[in-house]
């Protein structure tokens, strides 16, 4: 259950980025006394104060037998001598080795970080390129739309032509039909008229017409003779 009345993420995140580790630790003098102790006594007793305190304390412990000197003291002295000598001799080498290990760890971590950053950068570049490519799709769609429009137009025109041809054929048929009818009527009528006229010419009329023609011809020949 999330109480949304409580405001979330109002402050700057305090853990990121993580502050780097301090370079050196607190100062320690003689291996086991922190430097702050010397600084604490400096205003009142100067530089030798803590050493006087240490000497006095040591003498007090020894004289009052709070620190007992027995066989263990000899053993502790020898062991401490060896340890101090070893540290003084091999200390810097060990420190350098440890520092090298640390450096390698840091370098590998840093390399990983840089590699990741690089990969992400290339991914960003690729993404930008993809976006640029997606813009080109507009042109592709325009071309396709033009294609489709052209196809539609061509189809429409084809059909228009078909319609025109069909209508023309039908009209031509009607025209040819009418012409044929008229021609047939004309022929039939001419034939009928000729037949009737030939029938109506009786032999009597034929003789009369022939006699008339001969008279006409004679008259004509007389006039022709005259002109010549």
């Amino acid at each position: 259950v999330l109480h949304t009345t409580r405001p979330l993420h109002t402050t700057q995140q305090s853990l990121a980025p993580v502050p780097p580790l301090p370079e050196k630790g607190g100062e320690v003098r003689h291996g086991f006394i922190p430097e702050e102790f010397f600084q604490f006594l400096y205003p009142k007793t100067g530089v030798t104060g803590p050493y006087m305190l240490g000497t006095g304390l040591l003498l007090y412990l020894l004289s009052k037998e709070i620190y007992v000197v027995n066989h263990e003291t000899a053993a502790a002295a020898c062991i401490l001598t060896v340890i101090v000598y070893a540290i003084k001799k091999f200390g810097p080498d060990v420190a350098a080795f440890a520092d090298k290990l640390n450096e390698e760890k840091m370098a590998s971590a840093l390399a990983m970080k840089n590699d990741t950053i690089q990969t992400l950068q290339t991914a960003i570049e690729e993404e930008k390129k993809e976006q640029w490519r997606a813009e080109g799709h507009n042109y592709l769609f325009d071309a396709k739309r033009n294609n489709v429009a052209m196809l539609l137009e061509a189809n429409y025109r084809e059909r228009l032509l078909t319609v025109y041809n069909e209508v023309k054929k039908r009209l031509d048929y009607q025209v040819a039909l009418q012409n044929l009818k008229r021609q047939k009527e004309q022929d039939h009528m001419i034939q009928w008229v000729e037949k009737n006229v030939v029938q109506s010419i009786t032999p009597q009329q034929q003789k009369e017409s022939i006699a008339k023609c001969i008279l006409d011809l004679k008259a004509l020949s007389k006039s022709a003779h005259a002109t010549v």
Binding site: E23, K24, G25, G26, V28, G31, P34, I87
Partner: protein, 79 residues
């Protein structure tokens, strides 16, 4: 005038000698409080001497010296 800090919130080094008794009485002595005190002390020491880039010998040797002193004190009666 700056507001006076409550005795409860003063650090040990700022407590006057006469107030030491009352200051001690005000400290948190519940188990959780004692655990918190141990944790705070450990964190202070750890972050100052050990959790650094170039740690020195002092961080470890101070712990050993304290251990030596403490074990001497505990085994004093056997000597």
């Amino acid at each position: 005038l700056p507001a006076a800090v409550l005795l409860k919130d003063t650090k040990l080094m700022d407590v006057k000698l006469g107030q030491l008794g009352s200051w001690l009485a005000m400290r948190d002595f519940t188990p959780g409080g004692i655990l918190g005190a141990f944790r705070r002390g450990h964190e202070r020491y750890y972050n100052k001497y050990i959790n650094v880039r170039k740690g020195g010998l002092g961080g470890l040797s101070m712990v050993l010296a304290g251990y030596i002193v403490l074990s001497y004190m505990w085994s004093y009666s056997h000597i």
